[in-house]
């Protein structure tokens, strides 16, 4: 008879193997996602083409215990937060997830370019058989967002979006280099929880971990402008974001350039709005023209440019006073 310890040891060995394999593969996937320049930098750093090895000696408990696998877990927790945003209605690995390529909780912040397409309401498709049809009564089967009230459709309960925060916090702790986590956390803290102070702290923590991130500058500027109503600081931060974007853009690959153009458009249109509110119409027009260069819908922006030019013309046209 095989001793029970053999089964136990076999299970442990299998678990260790799976965990090790996942931890080995995840950095390679990360490397595939990196742009060419950074890949080159990493390869130069190691002297040969090896997967990225992030430092484990930062003193962080997650780094020490989990090593590189923490990124894998961080991504899982980020997805978990989006699942909570949908109150559990979320596609699994066997479902059609075309409409969930970009997390909806990130998409709804307005700071992230969406890659979603397809039907987000019906990823389950038509029922396949009686077991499938019967089973759909036992799990969430309706597309809802927490900020719109969730399953109860109660807009008064939109503060329930707080439920995504623990997973986002965990994700940020595990992978401090993921900019999106800070943006999403700060946005919902500010918009729905009215916790501007914490949102501010999250964005500054993000900037400490990812210095020079124009995405974070954009969100921080929004916080200053919309929550603190501090025009000067918002302008400074957004302009710093634009400078950073101009430096970074040429080094990105085409896919990343597409995403970054969306952020640049947001930065410039927000700067234009800020300048318009401040009465600096020529500057506002300049920012809108900068936005046109990166926008996928330049015609819409041209309408705004025309409006501002008309407004400017009105200001400088001397008033024709009646003779009598």
């Amino acid at each position: 008879m095989t001793p029970p310890r053999t089964y136990f040891l076999l299970l442990v060995a299998l678990l260790v193997f799976c965990f090790g394999l996942a931890a080995q593969l995840e950095p390679q996937f990360q490397l595939m996602r990196l742009n060419d320049d950074r890949q080159k930098w990493v390869v130069d750093l190691h002297g040969e083409s090896k997967p990225v090895r992030f430092s484990r000696a930062d003193g962080d408990i997650f780094n020490v215990v989990l090593g590189d696998s923490r990124r894998m877990f961080a991504n899982s927790f980020y997805v978990k937060a989006d699942e909570y945003y949908h109150s559990g209605y979320y596609p699994g690995m066997f479902d059609d997830n075309a409409a969930f390529q970009t997390a909806h909780m990130a998409e709804d912040t307005g700071a992230v370019n969406t890659k979603n397409h397809g039907d987000e309401h019906g990823f389950l498709g038509p029922t396949r058989n009686w077991i499938d049809a019967f089973g759909r009564h036992f799990f969430p089967d309706r597309h809802t967002h927490l900020d719109e009230g969730g399953p109860q459709d109660d807009l008064g309960g939109s503060q329930n979006v707080r439920e995504i925060l623990p997973w986002l916090k965990l994700s940020a702790d595990l992978d401090p280099d993921n900019v999106q986590t800070y943006i999403v956390t700060a946005f919902w803290l500010r918009q729905r929880m009215n916790n501007v102070k914490e949102a501010d702290a999250v964005l500054h923590e993000g900037l400490r971990n990812c210095p020079g991130s124009y995405d974070l500058f954009f969100e921080l500027g929004r916080l200053y402008y919309e929550s603190y109503h501090d025009r000067e600081r918002a302008r400074n931060v957004w302009e710093a974001g634009v400078q950073q974007w101009l430096k970074t853009y040429p080094k990105l690959n085409p896919e990343e350039q597409k995403d970054s153009r969306f952020v640049m458009e947001q930065l410039t249109t927000h700067l234009a709005k800020l300048e318009e509110d401040a009465g600096n119409l020529p500057k506002a027009i300049n920012w809108l023209q900068a936005a046109q260069k990166v926008s996928e819908t330049p015609d819409t922006i041209q309408v705004q440019v025309n409006r501002l030019k008309y407004k400017l013309g009105q200001e400088f046209t001397p008033l024709l006073k009646p003779l009598y």
Binding site: S87, F138, E163, L189
Partner: protein
């Protein structure tokens, strides 16, 4: 029936003599209390992560109880040589199987009662409301699912040599059903002809334990399951319990006691 209840009573007494349940219960409480003490952006109303962790621990603990308790019932009786004197009394083999099953199932029920009362108290402490009907449905579905597992493990204990191998095989099968059972038909569609038919048949043959996993509905405060479907799910579970118990009786009838 009296004999069955007597055997079941002995199994229940065994529950509170053994330390398994206490250890699992205390570990669950400790982990939940530690998780509840974490400060997340100064917001004391965040509760769903806590409900998720708590329910996950309850599920794991209940699975451990539902597999390990029936797995050792008959092998231990045989090992201690108490099976023969037990059957020498006016107790048939069928009654013994049904008694053991009922005892193990009630043990799971008692454990679940404690776990769900704790879970309700934990979530009420943050949410300030108590959706009793949702909890009732979740607990009942959970209990009936454990009934299938108990019957299946009891059958396994008659087929496999040792409780450890039986437990391991049961855990693997239960885990497999819970994780991929729902999608086996989709997997079948990607396979070639003979294997496809086999996997498709398997999909319809296995007890779909994942149907009884309504944790997401409880965690995210979805409305209650329509009662007609709830009752049908209980009937579905009862059907599989009977099937496994009949199979266990048939196997045990031909089994040498020594």
């Amino acid at each position: 029936m009296k004999n069955i209840l007597a055997v079941a009573g002995v199994v229940i007494k065994e529950l509170y003599r053994r330390k398994d349940f206490y250890v699992l219960f205390i570990v669950t409480i400790l982990i939940c209390v530690v998780m509840a003490s974490i400060n997340i952006y100064d917001d004391a109303h965040i509760v769903r992560y806590l409900k998720e962790i708590s329910l996950l621990l309850i599920w794991l603990s209940s699975l451990v109880i539902a597999v390990t308790t029936p797995a050792r019932q008959i092998p231990v009786e045989r090992e201690n040589r108490t099976l023969l004197p037990l059957l020498a009394k006016p107790l048939t083999r069928v009654q013994l199987i049904f008694g053991k099953f009922l005892g193990c199932w009630l043990v799971c029920g008692l454990a679940l009662l404690c776990f769900y009362v704790f879970f309700g108290a934990l979530s009420a402490s943050r949410e300030h409301h108590w959706p009793l009907l949702n909890y009732f449905q979740a607990a009942m579905l959970h209990w009936f699912m454990l009934g299938i597992i108990v019957a299946f493990t009891l059958l396994g204990s008659l087929v496999f040599a040792a409780p450890s191998s039986n437990s391991t095989i049961c855990f693997v099968i239960i885990g497999g059903i819970l994780f991929v059972g729902r999608h086996l038909d989709q997997v079948a569609m990607t396979l070639q002809a003979p294997v496809r038919t086999a996997v498709y048949c398997l999909y319809f043959a296995i007890p779909h334990l994942e149907l009884f996993d309504v944790r997401d509905l409880v965690i995210h405060n979805w409305p209650t399951i329509p009662w007609a479907y709830f009752c049908l799910a209980l009937l579905y579970a009862a059907f599989y319990m009977v099937v496994f118990l009949i199979a266990a009786c048939l196997v045990f009838r031909r089994k040498a006691i020594n």
